[in-house]
């Protein structure tokens, strides 16, 4: 059976992680599936503006960076109950479709298969969301480079809506209660759906197995290559720079 690389980066600084993310896409080490756990942080989508999206005075204790793919803010609170994953795959029109929505659907299928295993009513909602009973539980973002795709996404195990609103650039007091209830209706997380806290590693292991089944491969644990490490080093200043984050 074909072997693809698997890496678990563990708890990371998101600036380092976004540099490694780009390095895996632009390196040459074959298809890769990886996990990481972000510390308290905010990752802006490629087309977002920090001062438009965020109340920057409220974000002083957050690490903020930007990723190379579009989409919205990936917000991580200090509960660290989020599974963040990345997939780099060669677009072959089979396992990784050329069609953008088709390829989102394929990769998001790993999350859906995982959630279904827990008895949840998970589905793909185009363009890039996974839902449980029509509530968003996972956001995903994709970019492409020289015939390869990079998809990042997050599976919420727990989520602090109040904290997200506190740092967002929305009029506060006046709409706070209304916002919280409307977000609660549109968003959900695994702990809430299951009514209990499941072990994060257990869910990650199940995701790995569902990935192997869906792509018909065996995941082999590996590390970054020397070339990827070099590339990461050269990309790091960008992810730390104000020019990139606050452009």
């Amino acid at each position: 059976m074909e072997e693809w690389r698997f890496i678990d980066f563990g708890l990371v600084d998101i600036r380092d992680m976004m540099a490694m993310d780009e390095a895996i896409l632009k390196g040459d080490e074959g298809n890769t599936f990886f996990f990481w756990t972000p510390r308290k942080s905010i990752i802006l989508g490629y087309f977002q503006k920090a001062d438009v999206e965020l109340d920057l005075n409220q974000c002083k204790d957050y690490t903020i960076t930007r990723r190379i793919s579009g989409g919205g803010i990936a917000f991580s609170d200090d509960r660290c109950r989020q599974i963040n994953y990345g997939v780099v795959g060669t677009i072959d029109n089979d396992r990784f479709p050329l069609d953008i929505i088709g390829s989102y659907k394929q990769v998001c299928g790993v999350l859906i298969d995982t959630l279904i295993e827990y008895g949840l009513n998970a589905a793909f909602r185009p363009i890039n969301d996974v839902t449980v009973d029509s509530k968003k539980i996972s956001g995903n973002a994709q970019t492409r480079w020289e015939g390869k795709l990079l998809q990042n996404g997050t599976l919420l195990l727990d989520f602090d809506i109040e904290e997200m609103l506190r740092i967002s650039n929305i009029p506060k007091e006046k709409f706070m209660d209304k916002k919280i209830s409307s977000i609660r209706e549109g968003l959900t997380w695994v702990d809430r759906e299951l009514g209990e806290q499941r072990n994060m590693e257990e869910i990650q292991n199940l995701m790995k197995r569902k990935f192997e089944e869906r792509f018909n491969v065996r995941l082999k644990t590996g590390t970054l290559s020397a070339k990827e490490k070099e590339l990461t080093k050269s990309l790091l200043p960008k992810y730390h720079s104000d020019e990139w984050v606050y452009r």
């Binding site: 989508g45 490629y46 087309f47 977002q48 503006k49 438009v52 999206e53 190379i68 793919s69 579009g70 989409g71 919205g72 803010i73 953008i100 929505i101 185009p126 363009i127 890039n128 973002a141 994709q142 970019t143 492409r144």
Partner: protein, 97 residues
């Protein structure tokens, strides 16, 4: 964009994401424009050329949409769920008094 004068934000939600525009005009011509949001566009860097090319054109929907369509063709842009008309709509909302 000059922060001293905060223009009105034009918000438009396309199927592919929220588009936020800020536009400054002079004599009906777009002088300064900023677009951001949580949409997707491939190739990503074509976006900045698109925004740049909107400066200097007439601030009317037809001209804005035609210009964006031209850039989409020239740059071979794909933006799932977001269309040139969506960007034009966001810009028009920013221009509303």
């Amino acid at each position: 964009m000059d922060e001293a004068i905060k223009p009105k934000q034009g918000l438009h939600k396309s199927k592919g994401g929220l588009i936020r525009s800020f536009v400054k005009t002079e004599n009906g011509i777009i002088k300064d424009i900023s677009i951001s949001g949580d949409f997707f566009m491939f190739p990503e860097d074509a976006f900045f050329r698109m925004v740049q090319e909107l400066q200097g054109i007439h601030a009317i929907r037809e001209d804005i949409e035609r210009k964006i369509q031209e850039i989409y063709i020239k740059e071979k842009i794909q933006s799932p769920g977001t269309f040139p008309a969506d960007f034009a709509e966001s810009i028009m909302k920013a221009l509303e008094v």
